[in-house]
Assembly symmetry: C3
């Protein structure tokens, strides 16, 4: 059984300047390594700058060739929340169902979940999923979709290509 090579990108102006301790990134690493068969290869904190977020996602997908990249932060209504716009620009394929499930299951916890603007999709061999900024919101969100992910990543790696068609 292969291991999922994963990356975690924390998007936070304060975190990137060391003015806030990043709790969401480590929480996602803990989840990925304990709950699904993933190894977090790379973690990074970047400010809420669209260009920087895009370059980070491209690097994680095209150079590091990770199977799965989770982002946390930047999915709200604040003017500097630009994570989904950055993600949209670099995706090759939309996977709307993942974010639909995250939102609909999160709605059973709080109606504010409908305001979360995260998207999901694929660039080359990498599945990218935007998650909320809080440690609780981020780990809850990924837990809602974790079961289906392994199957999707199998196909993405073409290991299960034949049976999927």
């Amino acid at each position: 059984m292969y291991v999922i090579n994963a990356g975690v990108v924390t998007i936070s102006d304060k975190g990137s300047k060391g003015q806030r301790v990043d709790e969401s990134g480590p929480a996602l690493k803990e989840f990925l390594e304990s709950k699904i068969n993933a190894k977090v290869i790379s973690m990074i904190i970047v400010p809420d700058e669209q260009d920087l977020i895009e370059k980070t996602l491209i690097y994680f997908a095209d150079v590091l060739k990770l199977d799965l990249v989770l982002t946390t932060g930047g999915t709200g209504f604040a003017p500097r929340d630009v994570t989904p716009e950055a993600t949209k620009n670099i995706l090759e394929k939309d996977v709307p169902g993942i974010s639909e499930v995250i939102r609909s299951k999160s709605l059973t916890i709080t109606p504010k979940a409908m305001l979360s603007t995260g998207i999901s999709g694929i660039r080359k061999g990498t599945l990218i999923i935007n998650l909320p900024g809080s440690p609780k919101g981020a780990t809850e969100s990924i837990s809602f979709v974790a079961d289906a992910l392994t199957h999707g990543l199998d196909i993405l790696k073409e290991e299960a290509n034949e049976c999927a068609r």
Copy 2:
């Protein structure tokens, strides 16, 4: 407690020519002012012309700087239904969850709700939400998301910016 400055745009060929009385616009004004802490600053009826709808939304967002703009009409399958296309063109940020909730809750009332093409999103400091054309459909739809709106508008106005990140 601040007041939400709102606008209502009724999109209707017949309404714009005075051949039909606009009941949806006034119904939305009544809802906004009685159910949430909003003041409807501006109401307008425009025909189903994409360019006119875009210009109206831009004016409401950029010049009037309203916090919330609701549209009613033009979200169906008819060839002249172009409200979502006009809205999409002028949005800076998609907020898919609002329209997902409107559709999924409306589906408990009628399966036809899946055919409603409305979208939601943000332009500058303005949240824009497409609603169906009928007074009942429009007010039902906004009622499904009203509770979460105030929170989102707080953040949009940056009054709650810090705690949201």
Copy 3:
């Protein structure tokens, strides 16, 4: 009562080369003709080539002027799955609710449904819906939305235009 003129496009590399028998196309034809008032005018098998899929959909919509076109296949995570990207390029109007309902109802059967990337929308007078590749997945998916379709197609044909506004 008018008849819905429909088309079915099976997207499959192996099917297009005769290396696999297409079971999904005939299953959709059977569903459309027995369960809703449709006549399948045209069926075709094309490989997973984006350009070819786009040209087929344009031909079915603009030349054959079909009311409804269903696609089956190419909505997964495999690198050659490009049906939604091809469809998106030729649509004039998004109808996100149809695919939202297909995914949310399919999720009650399997969590893998969240990975299905199908979209729905309108080009000129034609409603186009992407369905999964398997006969079971394709027919289940269309059955989830069939009741609402006839109403939408009525409006699309402008026969029910007046009452819809």
